[in-house]
């Protein structure tokens, strides 16, 4: 047991090393794009205000009435923030697939080495899963820190009389996008991450199906994914099937959803273990 944990730790460290270039690039792009946003957006506002004041010979107060005050919300509600987030999400989605296929299709067939390690093969599965989550959480953490640094930056750039009193926290909470990626609401954050986790586990299973049965595996994967999806959304149709919207209490539906998600996750883990130990082909 202790040996297996050490192996998991070692492999996770190893996978993290392989991820780091990709991760640091994403972190760098995020910080850079955010920085541009924190500077550009308030500068644009300032020049618009100045232009208005000079062309209309208006006072600062009149300009303010015309354009409204600038809040940190405006600075973070731009592509400079949402762009890197979208990039991060799609990047990790891509990486979740790449993390497996590179072992077979890389310059060297490292899959030989990995599959011949004297450790349970599920260790490979878990190390890859953990590394993806470490990456995602590092990105989220960086984004959070960026907001608070960016807030100071925007406050420094913007003349205080034009700055609305929105705090960094309020600005974050106002944008619905951040509900999904930042723990604005702990419970909601956990739900999103729970769904995300199950999604990645299922995705890994599909990849292992393809790696085990090739074309047949793709067909099998599509069927498996379809069945998992149908099962996952089925609680939402219970009301319609029963022709009564109050047959189940909301808490019961929630528990059913949690149960189904756990079932999908556990089934996928078992299927993955079976494929990895018995069916995988080099």
């Amino acid at each position: 047991m202790k040996k297996n944990i050490k192996a998991l730790l070692d492999l996770t460290t190893f996978e993290l090393d392989r991820l780091s270039k990709f991760l640091y690039t994403l972190l760098g792009v995020t910080l850079l794009a955010n920085l541009i946003g924190y500077i550009r957006t308030p500068m644009q506002y300032i020049s618009r205000m100045n232009e208005f004041m000079s062309t209309q010979s208006a006072t600062s107060q009149q300009a303010l009435e015309n354009f409204g005050s600038f809040s940190f919300y405006h600075a973070i509600n731009t592509m400079w923030i949402s762009g890197p987030i979208a990039l991060g999400i799609s990047g990790f989605l891509f990486y979740a697939v790449f993390i497996w296929y590179r072992e077979w299709f890389g310059k060297n067939t490292f899959a030989y080495r990995l599959l011949m390690l004297p450790i349970p093969r599920m260790t490979l599965f878990f190390s890859k899963l953990i590394v993806i989550y470490i990456g995602i959480f590092s990105l989220i953490a960086t984004q959070i820190i960026s907001f608070f640094v960016g807030f100071q930056l925007v406050s420094a750039i913007m003349p205080s009389e034009w700055l609305a009193g929105t705090t960094a926290l309020e600005a974050i909470q106002m944008n619905p996008l951040f509900m999904y990626i930042i723990p604005v609401d702990t419970l909601y954050f956990m739900v999103i991450n729970g769904i995300g986790l199950v999604f990645i586990i299922v995705l890994f299973t599909l990849i292992l199906m393809e790696r085990s049965f090739a074309l047949k595996g793709i067909v099998l994967g599509i069927i498996y994914a379809g069945a998992a999806l149908a099962l996952a959304v089925s609680p939402f149709f219970i009301d319609s099937i029963l022709q009564n919207y109050y047959m189940l209490y909301a808490s019961e539906i929630l528990l059913i959803i949690i149960g189904i998600m756990t079932l999908i996750a556990v089934t996928s883990l078992l299927v993955s273990r079976h494929l990895l130990t018995k069916k995988i082909t080099i």
């Binding site: 060297n108 004297p118 080099i282």
Partner: protein, 229 residues
């Protein structure tokens, strides 16, 4: 002893192995021979549980293969299997992290024997040196059995000589070795057992030395009889 019993394998509709049975004993060097596509590599992959078999059984000292048996049997495939961005030393450290049977002392000796530089990155190595690294990773494990897939393919004649030397060295002493190769001439004199594959089954299993002594035929002669005849 590695034992294969009635092993069957199919790729799609094509039957590759159709009831293959043989054994590899400790202290013996056995060689799987046969033309391309006859299923030699598939057999090695199957022994290592790197491809599932349809039917039959494969045991190593009576046990089906489990991850812990990778401390008992090593496989040196015909492809670079270490990560190109790692140095030889880093690759050895990686092995040391996971294998109880990794023998650092022996690894050092092999590095010296092959005249490799531990600080070289794998991606900078020649094909021959990459093959040597592959051998290093397998031979530095204190295992009972070693499987080698085409250890001579695509490498220069000097490297080939160096690798041939391995087979008569202490590095394979007392181990059960199963290799596949086309370049049978170089090592024919070292082989204890030759397993000749044809159309998914074992056509002939013989001792190369006895064959030479009793029938005056080399392995190549026997192969010619089979594939041309």
């Amino acid at each position: 002893m590695i034992e294969l019993k009635d092993v069957q394998k199919q790729f799609g509709r094509k039957k590759v192995l159709n009831g293959v049975s043989f054994t590899v004993e400790k202290g013996e060097i056995s060689c799987l021979v046969g033309v391309n596509g006859v299923g030699k590599t598939t057999i090695l992959n199957a022994i290592m549980n790197l491809t599932p078999i349809k039917k039959g059984s494969i045991t190593i000292d009576g046990e089906s293969i489990t991850p812990s048996l990778y401390n008992k049997i090593a496989f040196i495939p015909d492809a670079a299997i270490s990560l190109p961005h790692l140095t030889i030393q880093e690759s050895m450290d990686f092995m040391n992290d996971y294998y109880d049977t990794w023998n650092p002392k022996r690894a050092k000796e092999i590095v010296k024997f092959f005249r490799l530089n531990p600080t070289d990155k794998l991606r900078d190595l020649s094909k021959g040196n990459q093959a040597k690294v592959n051998l290093l990773m397998g031979l530095a494990l204190d295992v009972d059995y070693i499987l080698m897939d085409e250890p001579f393919s695509g490498i220069d004649v000097f490297t080939r000589e160096q690798i041939t030397e391995v087979f008569s060295s202490y590095l394979v002493e007392d181990r059960g070795v199963l290799i596949t190769t086309h370049e049978i001439n170089d090592i024919e004199h070292l082989l204890d057992k030759v397993i000749l594959l044809d159309e998914g089954t074992i056509y002939k299993e013989f001792n190369a030395e006895i064959m030479r002594e009793t029938e005056g035929k080399s392995v190549i002669d026997v192969m010619r009889e089979v594939y041309n005849g």
